[in-house]
Symmetry: C3
Subunit: 139 residues, 3 copies
C-alpha cells in the first residue's frame, strides 16, 4: 500500500465554479497510481467542492444563480456580519454542498462519468487562495 | 490489502428513491470482505445518492416532494433548458445531495444504523440506466 | 495496514451543533496513527455531520436558523407526521448535509483547515443518544 499527499492551491476570483479535474488526472498519471481511493478535502468553510456536468457551461451559471437565490446576501438575515455580507451565505452554501469527496481510482484512471467534472465552488466575492488536499491510498 | 470493483446498474422509472442496500450487502457477503472502506460513486450528475430512513415510505415521499418544491421545474428560472425542464433541477438536486458515499465495513457487515437504507435518488422524469461503482478497499 | 474502529456516543439536548473535533484528535493521538483515511459515519437519519467554522459561534447560530427557515416544522407540508413535527424536517436537513465524512490523516495529524471544526448537527428537539462510528484505515 502506498500513500501520497499533494497540496493543490487554486486562486479564485469571485463566485464561480473552478474546474480542477485535469490537475487531479495529471497527478494520478504522474504517480502511476493503479487502484485506490483518492480523498479530496478543501481546507475552508466558505468555499466547497462539487461534482457537476462539464459539458454545457450554462449548467454552471444556473447552479451559481440558484444558490445565490437560495442563500441571499442580506445582512438582516444573519448575526455573523463582520466579515461582509457574502461570508455567512458562503458558510451556508458550503454546508449545502461538500467539504470533501472520495473518488475511486482503477487502472490509473479516475472512475468519473463521461460528463462529470470536479469543481471548487467559490462562495466569496473577493479573490482567495484556496487550499485543497489530495490524498491517495492504494497501490 | 484487497480491492474489488463492481459496476451496479439500476434502471430507473421516474423521480423516486430506489433502494439498493441489499445489493451492497450481498456483494459484501459474497466476497467475504472483513474490514474496510466501501466507496460508492454514481457516474451521473442528474441522479444522486442518499442515505435515508427505510422504515416508513412516507419519509421518502415527503423527501421527493420537498426537493420538487425547493428546486422548481420552471424553465424561466434557468438558461440550460435544451434537455427538458427537469434537467437543470436534476443537476441542482444532485448538488444538494451526494455524488459519492464512503461506508465502513466491519466483520463482513456494513456499519449502518438500524433504520438507514442506501438509495439512488433519480431526478429525471424519463427512465434511465444509471451506473453506480462499488469499490472496496480493505482485507 | 492497520484498521481501528471506535463508537463515539454523543448525548444531544435539542437542535444545535455539537463539536467533536477534539474527541477525534485525541483518538488519533492515542492510537499513534501515521497516515491514513478516517471515515466518520453517523448511524441516524435525523441528525447529521457537518464541517464548519469554529471561530465565531454566531456562524453556528446563523446556520441553525437558516436550516430552520429552509425546512419548516409545519405538519401540513408532510405526510410523515407520526413522530412529531420536527421529525420529517430532521430527515430533510440530514439529506441536505452529510451522513458521512472521510478525512485525511498525515503524520498523526488531521488535515483540517485552521478554522474548521467537525460537528454533529442535531435536528430533533428532544434529547438523543447519537452513535457515530470512527473508522481508521492506514498505517
Amino acid at each position: 500500500m502506498i500513500q501520497e499527499f499533494f497540496n493543490l492551491e487554486i486562486k479564485t476570483n469571485g463566485i464561480h465554479l473552478y474546474e480542477f479535474t485535469n490537475e487531479i488526472l495529471n497527478w494520478i498519471k504522474l504517480n502511476k497510481f493503479k487502484n485506490g481511493i483518492l480523498n479530496i478535502s478543501i481546507q475552508h468553510t466558505s468555499a466547497s467542492l462539487i461534482i457537476q456536468e462539464n459539458a454545457d457551461p450554462d449548467v454552471q451559471a444556473d447552479l451559481i444563480n440558484y444558490f445565490d437565490k437560495l442563500v441571499p446576501m442580506n445582512n438582516d438575515l444573519y448575526t455573523h456580519t463582520a466579515e461582509g455580507n457574502d461570508d455567512m451565505p458562503a458558510h451556508i452554501k458550503s454546508a449545502l454542498t461538500n467539504n470533501q469527496i472520495s473518488l475511486s481510482v482503477k487502472e490509473n484512471n479516475l472512475l468519473l462519468g463521461a460528463w462529470q467534472g470536479i469543481y471548487l465552488f467559490e462562495h466569496r466575492i473577493q479573490g482567495q487562495n484556496r487550499q485543497i488536499v489530495l490524498h491517495y491510498l492504494g497501490n
